[in-house]
């Protein structure tokens, strides 16, 4: 289907416009319509997955690394802004994740949201457009527009339907992310003004052209710094994470699910799509610092989770830890590490999204998330306890469930990391330590909430006989199924990202080899990259012309 990505991206916006015309008091109709729409949207995403191989073959035949590519067509011609959409394996998985969690998030809010429901669903739909746009844009300007605009719906979601401290959280979220991204804008502009040299004197934001710009190493360092601020705040990497617990705790359940499941991935995706391939030399120079921050994030997030008194806050801090894993895997700059990192992005979306949904379920009954007010819940809500156990185990990486696949790949990748890149590879041990701590805080949470005697009389009153409802079953079952599927047979998912990861590695390879040569190390045997797709100059370049070499050569 032509223009599938644009359709996917703007359909939620259209649905939001439709919802505007619903009468305000028809909340039921609005709920059904929105959730139904999200389901249809998810179904529309499935062709991306099932038609992936043929789409990628078609893209390869057209000398493009992007499947389902649209454009580049001029949008703001005087600025060289193009409308360019397309996905590779990694963004396809993230689009899929976004629409998958979209259905669950919309469904989960049916009873949690009791005020201004119409507006709520409108913002949820607009948010979806923003997120999909971020993952599909192949023009840096377009990406930036989606990246920023998406803040607005999230701001409203937290600010209107959030917890007691929602205003503070909403503004903090907005300003923090904005501060990071304006500096990123400066970095984007620096790159933009260099594109003329490789594009017949015409500056453009088109990513295909930007990939050909070879920035001098000194400037690269600064541009990477600007990108780092933009993306690291979004991830969030330690020490830029302080907005996250506030935003997570105050946001309504669906907001938390989207925030953890998708929004944080935009930061890691930013590193993957832009920072690494555009600035390979600077990546290496920043790497020791980044790796250290990532590992501090893993340990720090886990330790802070251990001492939380509020369930949601615990899950929020666990995100800091998990995302630290993600970044560590990515900065290992090995195929396994990056694949593990992408895997971890998806897994985190599923497990942490699931945990937020589960916390939301018991919050709807008890209206508190304080851990010490629970205890013995397994007796009152056995089904709920089972679901919670499965998702907990998926989060801590039990083999057979999804979390394991990502974490083991990240550890493998980090282990095989080139010794030239880091001052000491023993840092990797801390990653394993982080896994242990992760098991500790999750299991301890489980123990405190579910085991023992029921001491709180309210718990008996509100939860006994109120185990999972059909709707709650409905949105938890898919998560559990996916967790098992990825845990038991991750190959299809991993295969999808082959080419995409190979491209990033191929961009990094010359810089890594240079670093190794400088330290007198022989390069370790690298698995040969069978096919490397480097984007051609323009769509119009005749196929006879050999694809341009990576500039770092």
């Amino acid at each position: 289907m032509p223009y599938l990505l644009s359709i996917l991206t703007y359909l939620p916006l259209l649905a939001a416009v439709v919802v505007v015309f619903f009468p305000k008091d028809q909340t039921k109709a609005i709920k059904y319509f929105t959730t139904g729409f999200f389901f249809v949207e998810f179904l529309l995403t499935l062709p991306l997955w099932f038609g992936w191989d043929s789409a990628q073959a078609a893209a390869g035949a057209a000398h493009s690394m992007w499947a389902f590519e649209e454009g580049p067509t001029p949008w703001i011609a005087s600025l060289g802004v193009t409308y360019h959409m397309g996905i590779d394996g990694v963004s396809m998985l993230l689009v899929l994740l976004t629409n998958f969690l979209g259905v669950l998030a919309a469904w989960s809010g049916w009873e949690y949201i009791k005020t201004r429901e119409k507006e709520y669903y409108i913002w949820l739909l607009i948010l979806q457009t923003g997120m999909l746009g971020v993952f599909c844009s192949l023009d840096f300007f377009l990406f930036y527009v989606f990246w920023e605009v998406m803040l607005v719906p999230m701001y409203f979601l937290i600010g209107i339907w959030g917890g007691p401290n929602k205003l503070y959280a909403a503004i903090k979220f907005f300003l923090y992310t904005l501060a990071g991204s304006v500096l990123m804008l400066v970095g984007i502009l620096v790159l933009y003004f260099r594109t003329g040299a490789v594009n017949n004197g015409v500056n453009t934001f088109n990513l295909d052209v930007m990939y050909k710009v070879a920035l001098e190493s000194g400037l690269q360092w600064w541009v990477f710094g600007a990108f780092f601020l933009g993306f690291a705040i979004k991830v969030p990497m330690f020490p830029f994470h302080t907005w996250l617990p506030d935003a997570h705790v105050e946001a309504p359940t669906a907001g938390s699910v989207i925030l953890a499941g998708v929004l944080l991935k935009m930061g890691t995706y930013g590193f993957y799509r832009f920072a690494l391939p555009l600035l390979p030399d600077a990546t290496l120079r920043w790497l020791p610092f980044l790796m250290t921050l990532a590992i501090i994030g893993v340990i720090y997030g886990a330790m802070v989770s251990l001492v939380q008194k509020d369930m949601k806050k615990l899950v929020a801090y666990s995100s800091v830890s998990h995302l630290g894993f993600c970044m560590a895997g990515m900065f290992a700059l090995t195929t396994a590490g990056i694949k593990g990192s992408v895997m971890q992005m998806i897994n985190h979306g599923i497990s942490t999204g699931g945990l937020f949904l589960l916390v939301g379920i018991v919050y709807e009954r008890m209206h508190t998330r304080e851990i010490k007010l629970y205890g013995g819940l397994a007796k009152l809500m056995p089904v709920y306890a089972t679901f919670f156990m499965i998702i907990t185990l998926s989060s801590i990486g039990l083999p057979g469930l999804n979390g394991f696949v990502g974490e083991i790949l990240i550890l493998l990748g980090a282990y095989h990391m080139s010794a030239a890149l880091l001052f000491s590879k023993s840092l990797i041990f801390f990653l394993a330590g982080g896994m242990l701590l992760g098991a500790a805080y999750m299991l301890w949470l489980y123990q405190r909430v579910f085991f023992g005697e029921v001491t709180n009389p309210h718990l008996e009153e509100h939860c006994k006989g109120h185990d999972m409802k059909a709707r709650e079953w409905g949105y938890m079952i898919p998560l559990v199924l996916v967790a098992f599927w990825i845990g038991l047979y991750p190959k299809p998912v991993l295969d999808k990202m082959d080419k995409s990861v190979a491209f990033v590695i191929s961009r990094m390879q010359p810089a890594i080899q240079k670093a190794e040569a400088a330290k007198g190390l022989t390069p370790p045997p690298v698995t040969p990259i069978t096919e490397t797709v480097i984007p051609p100059a323009e769509a119009a370049v005749p196929p006879a012309e050999a694809p341009a070499q990576a500039p770092a050569h």
């Binding site: 803040l151 607005v152 300003l175 502009l189």
Partner: protein, 487 residues
């Protein structure tokens, strides 16, 4: 008709319209009729002459007192637009306040003629005449709500401080004339490039400095901004819009012309201009944003917002000094002032609508919960606020984007980064307004929906749509500002 007369046509047309309005004011009873006549005469006489001249590519007469090139015509067009919008908004506003406003329209048109003079002056005398015509009209307009203390105070304060700044400007002009023996911009430039400076360079620099102080005052750049919040708060809201948008745009236009015709003559002078404007611009952005954060009164908040925007404009004006960037920066500044017009008049228009007849001091309290009681108005106001903050898909974002793009192109990464960080601080207080609209504090009753006539709503819709349309498809405006320069 001689070319000389053609060149002064827009100014003359607006002057004529002003005279007509003053004469009619003697016989007209109803402010509404006067207002409609004012709008019509502005659009027909002012707008018509601008369009006619634009279609002829402007009229430039060597050694004339004014230049009617396309750059001046672009500004003239903006002034006609803002004057018409302000008059249309004043109609309802003054009726709501039950204030006499028959003569108001004459003064608005006269102020517009002054702005046009400022934008096209090529001589110190005409520059001063334009500036004073505009300022004197503003002094009167600011005090038009005679029954309200604030308005009278604003008028007096503006007059006293304005007169003071004019004195600086005049003294600067005297020094300039003394050291270069010419009142004409071209003459001063010749003196600069040939080095024929009788009184020596220090006096010339002093002259420029004092002259620029006068301009900084009109642009309300920090530290010459102290008048702005009080005056903006006290003046009738549509008039505030005129001062904030028209007055500043005119001052920026004057700065652009004097830079392009005089300062380009000497690289040393251009460098000084660069440093001065960059420093003042950055200070204005930072200090202005930080003060704005503490404001609760909507018009004071918008006043500080316009101060901060002047800071962004100043960064653009400063970057004019870099020869390799000049063309791009000029287009960026022109884009910015046009963007600023659309979103800021819109914001002030909403402020005028929300203002209640009896109550003059409007804090954010009267915006609390408008998101539920007046959703359409609140949505429009949010669009203007987000545009002023510079969130993408609005014209305000592109305005900033052009200016900072030019700075990055020139390699001024630090200035660009600092300016953008300032913009983030500024976002905080725009969000504060959005917070008031949509997230009323617990237990706070939402403010009642204000009444607005369909004409006002239509104008607001137009400006909101313009903010978004130009934010997504700016081609219309970028084509217009491309390649404009002094003739």
């Amino acid at each position: 008709m001689s070319d000389l007369l053609w060149g002064t046509l827009p100014i003359a047309a607006m002057g004529l319209a002003a005279c007509l309005m003053f004469l009619l004011a003697a016989v007209l009873k109803s402010g509404r009729t006067a207002g409609v006549l004012g709008i019509l005469s502005t659009l027909i006489l002012g707008g018509g002459s601008v369009l006619v001249l634009w279609s002829q590519g402007g009229k430039v007469v060597p050694a004339a007192l004014v230049s009617c090139d396309k750059l001046a015509l672009f500004f003239d067009g903006l002034f006609v637009l803002v004057a018409s919008l302000v008059m249309a908004l004043s109609l309802e506003y003054f009726e709501k306040k039950k204030a006499h406003h028959v003569e108001l329209y004459g003064f608005i048109i006269l102020a517009t003629a002054g702005m046009m003079g400022l934008a096209s002056a090529t001589n110190l005398i005409t520059f001063y005449l334009g500036l004073e015509t505009m300022s004197l009209s503003f002094y009167v307009l600011a005090g038009f709500l005679r029954a309200h203390e604030n308005s009278v105070e604003a008028s007096l304060k503006y007059f006293l401080l304005g007169a003071f700044s004019s004195a600086f400007l005049l003294l600067g002009m005297a020094f300039l004339y003394g050291s270069s023996a010419s009142l004409d911009f071209g003459g001063i430039a010749t003196a600069l490039s040939t080095g024929a400076i009788p009184l020596g360079e220090p006096i010339l620099y002093l002259g420029f400095f004092l002259f620029l102080v006068g301009l900084f005052f009109k642009l309300s750049l920090i530290p010459f901004h102290f008048w702005a919040p009080d005056v903006y708060q006290g003046a009738p809201t549509p008039i505030t819009a005129l001062m904030a948008v028209g007055g500043k745009t005119a001052a920026a236009a004057g700065a652009i012309r004097i830079f392009l015709s005089v300062f380009t003559a000497s690289q040393g002078l251009a460098d000084k201009w660069f440093h001065l404007f960059m420093a003042v611009g950055l200070i204005t952005i930072f200090v202005g944003s930080m003060i704005a954060v503490t404001q609760r009164h909507i018009k004071r908040l918008l006043a500080y917002s316009s101060i901060v925007h002047a800071g962004f404009i100043a960064l653009g004006l400063g970057a004019l000094a870099v020869a390799s960037l000049r063309e791009q920066v000029l287009a960026a500044v022109l884009f910015y002032v046009a963007a600023y017009l659309v979103m800021n008049v819109g914001a002030f228009a909403v402020a005028g609508v929300v203002e209640r007849p009896e109550n003059y001091d409007e804090t954010l309290r009267s915006y609390s919960g408008l998101g539920t009681t007046a959703p359409y108005l609140a949505a429009l106001f949010s669009v203007f606020m987000l545009s002023l903050a510079g969130i993408p898909l609005t014209v305000g974002f592109l305005g900033k984007f052009y200016i900072f793009g030019a700075l990055v192109k020139g390699g001024y990464y630090v200035v660009a980064s600092l300016g953008l960080i300032g913009a983030v601080i500024a976002t905080y207080y725009y969000l504060k307004v959005v917070v008031a609209l949509y997230f009323p504090a617990a237990g706070e009753e939402p403010a009642p929906a204000p009444k607005a006539s369909w004409t006002t709503l239509a104008l607001l819709t137009l400006m909101g749509a313009g903010t978004l349309y130009l934010g997504i498809f700016p081609g219309l405006l970028t084509d217009l500002v491309k390649g404009l320069g002094i003739g």
